[in-house]
Amino acid sequence: MELQLLGIGILTWIVFIPIVGMIIVLLIPDSRQDAIRWTALAVTGMQLMLAGLILRNFDRSMLGINESGSFQFVEHFNWITVDALPWIGKVEITYFLGIDGLSVLMVILTALISFVGVISSWKIGKMVKGYFALYLLLVTGMMGVFVSLDFFLFFIFWEIILLPMYFLIGIWGGPRREYAAIKFFLYTFIGSILMMLVMIALYFSIAYTDPVTGELVHTFNLLHMMNPDNLVEGSILAGINTTWRYIAWIALFVNFAIKIPLFPFHTWLPDAHVEAPTAISVILAGVLLKLGAYGLLRISFPIFPDATVYFAYMMAVLGMISIIYGAFCAMAQTDFKKLIAYSSVSHMGIVVLGIASLTTQGMVGGVFQMFNHGIITAVLFLVVGVLYDRTHKRGLTDFGGMATVMPRYTGVAIIGMFAALGLPGLNGFVSELFSFLGAFSAFRWIAIISVTGIIITAAYILWTVQRVFLGKSPEQYKNLPDLSAREMVSFAPLIMLIIMLGIYPGPTIKLMNASVSHLVDLINIGGF
Amino acid sequence: MENQFIYWLANPGLNHFLMVSALLFALGLMAVITRRNVIMVLMGVELILNSANLNFVAFSHYTSLSLEGHMIALFVIIIASAEAAVALAIILNIYNRFRTINVDEISNLKG
């Protein structure tokens, strides 16, 4: 599948168009704030259109995962090549982009959430230029992670994300923003270091024979890493079910678990969410958390299928703990944003539970849950943002009776809330259903215990609805304006998706089905 | 014994000159080191120079150096006069600056 514009592949476009936007934003004089905003909107809008184009041309039957032939929109160039060092052979880092069923949903999610994020950042007034420049850089990083198939490239994009995120939280955040930003940065950075170590170990352990020249080539190419034939004899990660492979898996897992975030690596999330401005919370919950689960699926699972099988039970247990623990913690919160942050922990636990099952149903559920959670949580953070914009408060007990004051807003919020609660007919249900079904067939008791999570979820969500939207409204908030047109625009696509995917998820599931079941296949062959 | 000394004294040779020159040098050195007055110090320097001159001339007379020693002596005298001029100028400046020509009080280089 080739799709090019001006001779440049579409994936390069979609990744780097925000960088172009960033440069334009930097060239616009400070005073013309509206021009800056519109540029950012236009750039993310273009990105969204490109994502649509990708979706339209995506072939659902192609497998991907470890077969380079069945990736789509592939761009593959040599980037850094060091010729034949005497004792290690040729060194190769490639610029290798491509998508398959795992990443296509994430690409669409990223484009959509970025677009919505720009709309909801419209009211940012402090250092507009810097904000949008960093924002666009962030978008590039996220998009890059989802489309790169070279570990080195993956790592670079992974790190690119950290920097703008740090500043976006640290400059435009709430009162404890420095603390939150530092915590976020250090936490994720520790993970990155672990990943880098594994990356280097893999690099030395993997070498393929160049079919043309017959040289031994060390590479960062993920697809080569997935092929066990390429393991160098006697290297650190050679063999199967070896201690070093387990250690490498754990190191990667910790990195991804921090991003997901999985219990007990989750504590950066509430702080970061509470301090971050609305749009950044949306990005953080909508896209950033998915990086972790995506990394597991893209890197840990296919490269270390043996260790994945070995640790699947542990993953499921951590997922279960996250589900229940997150839900309980959410119930204890009095801050609306913190509540949603913990609910994210709970919902991402479902993702982990689903993918840990290593069954097609569970993984489809997990990947779909990633997408759905992205959309639902984005809605929820936007919901909080609306209230915060108007009242500068977000305590759950500060409000009440918003249903009377802002009926349209309440409608939107309730749909989001109920989707998070897993109400059938909305998208959250479908993915939870599949995740639990898959988990049940793999780990019966864990799934049964996890199901109690949906009861607790119902309890805290309804309690929240009751405290914020029902009851009598406080005197000072009697005249809050209902949603503005701009806010409606930012909600509309998300709400539409929530309902559409809830009623007819078939096509979306088909989008990833082939790749996911191929991945399951791969793990089952490699792991047993 | 006495005769010998008188004999030696009455028959001046190189050693006599050297002896005088050494005495002169010692006196000059003494003056340079001990006198407080810069002018005196300068005079001491002149004495040292003259003792050297004496040596040059004596060596040139008693050895086969012929006139070369005289030549040098003449040079020294000329340079000494120039040096005296420069030195006096310095002394004048020192006086202008410190209002004294006592070397003990001019100890700006003290560590």
Binding site: G401, F436, A458 | V41
Partner: protein
Amino acid sequence: MELQLYIQLALITLALPFAGFLILIFTGKRLPRNGDWLATGLISLAFLLSLFILIAKLVWHHNETITSSLNWITLNDLMGPSSIEFGITVDNLSAILLVVVTMISMLVHFFSIGYMKGDIRYSRYFACLGLFSFSMLGIVLTNNLLLMYIFWELVGISSYLLIGHWYEKKTATNAASKAFVVNRVGDAGMFVGIMILFTSFSTFTFETIFDAISNGELPFESTGWLTAAGILIFCGAIGKSAQFPLHVWLPDAMEGPTPVSALIHAATMVAAGVYLVARVFPLLTADALLVIAYIGAVTSVIAATIAATQMDIKKVLAYSTISQLGFMIMALGVGAYAAGFMHLVTHAAFKAGLFLAAGSIIFAMHKALHKTNDHHTDAQDIRNMGGLKRKMPVTYWTFLIFTLAISGIPFTSGFLSKDEILAGTLAFGIMSGHYLLPVAAFLVAGLTAFYMFRALILTFHGEHANATRLEGVEESPKVMIIPLIILASLSVYIFYSFNPFGAASGWIFQAIERPLSIVPVAMQPISNLLFHNVVSMVHSIAMGLSILFAFSGIIFALLVYKWKKIDADRLANSMGMLYKGAFHKWYFDKVYYKVFVDGILGFVKGLHKFDDKVIDGFVNSTAGVAIHLSNISKWIDEHIVNELVTLTAWIAGYAGEQLGRLQTGKVQTYLAFMVFGFIVLFILFI
């Protein structure tokens, strides 16, 4: 008639109320009269359609099951594609319930036009009724567990929205949340049950699951898991049908508007649990059925005793509903399948009627109290009523008919179904030796007659509790009265069976037959044939006892409340703990509140602290450790490394200082040194 036509008609029936919901929720406020005519018209149309379906079905295709499904999701597995189908099925069971649901819903719509007049969220109310009707019809029509679960949750959410209709009231929102969360507990169990079945059979469709089990496939090769699956699915019914121990939400749900209580919390939604058990009946093992029977029995006894002590008319009816639902569940548990289902149908009519009549009373009370500017008196408390018979004759007479029906007096519909259930439990008790079940059943039958007549007498007979206050009470408008009359006429035996003493010859018994059990033989309940034989043997005894208990209940109620031969308070006192326990609803609410609400809130607070202090504390303390480490290294750097550097500098400085003393600044000293040095060198080298 073409079979597919049934499916199409059923789909249209399903779609009509949903269309009403969509239209009203978006444009309701702009429509004339806020669109109540639209909702009512659509549901009436749905009623006519479903009536047509029922009649056509019974007349032309009596024994057929018509199913149609379409693919919702296809999942390509390693084993090949597996698809999740959504389908609907029209058989006698669903066709009958279709009519019941649409009819009650239609009557409630009409009633609401009067009752909800002038409400601030009038159109939203009708929209939610539409959503409810849609989801309830979905439950009735679906042919698979997943779709059942989906609609199951949707009725839950519409119930939530309607209970919380007056959401300014804290009690209403509390009740709504409580209803949903308590239901979720049951639903979680049901979900696990569904997971067990799906994991074993890769399908959600009832038929396919039943086929697989009858072919000897068992979940995880164990009959234990099959029993567990049955009981877990029944958990859904425990939640929705408010069975012990999850019955606590239903009385609170009475915070919603009264017509809603009639529709959702008396006639239809709460009966969904019964319907669910009826649907999955074939896969229930004998053990599972026994559990079901006992849960039903316990529920009905508990609820009946509570109902006999309550003062709020809606609470009395709510507990009565729970008790009757327990009856139906017990009937299904003992195997009296058709009887239980028939009781669902007859109960729907007379209980909806009771609630609407109660609604009519409350409506009238409210108006009367409003006129006297009295906002403190509870319009629902039967102690504040009395003597309403003269003021509201139609309401009274209909209420009386409903009361007779629920008490099981001959010639009413309630008698027919209740009598069959009692006979069924008696037969089951005799055959299996579980005598507790028939004892409970007869006890409840007597109690039912007692508490219903108690409510009737206190409300309508005697004198006004407060003459001036109740002066203004008047009969409700026609739009509310007519549904009452229709329901009252439907509480007469003639609609169900031409023989007032034998339900078995009625059309419901003809249409509904207990499905064959498909579980392994050793696990099967008592076979249908044997059961029938014993039932017909004990039938006349059961009938006699049933009439006896009903009448004694009534007479006791008359003795206490009408003729005042026995003082109610003295009676209560003499019952001691028994009365107190029942009056306080056997402390379920209090204990649950303490354990679950307070307990969990306390727990989550602790957990949050744990998260904050231990887990986050760990993270922060690693930062602390890092800071300490850096402090140590800072100390080392300052005091050791840096000191070494300083020391060398100091040495140099010191040496310089000492040597500097040589530097007198005096030229002559220097010269002296020079000479001295020269001499030393001279001595040394020459």
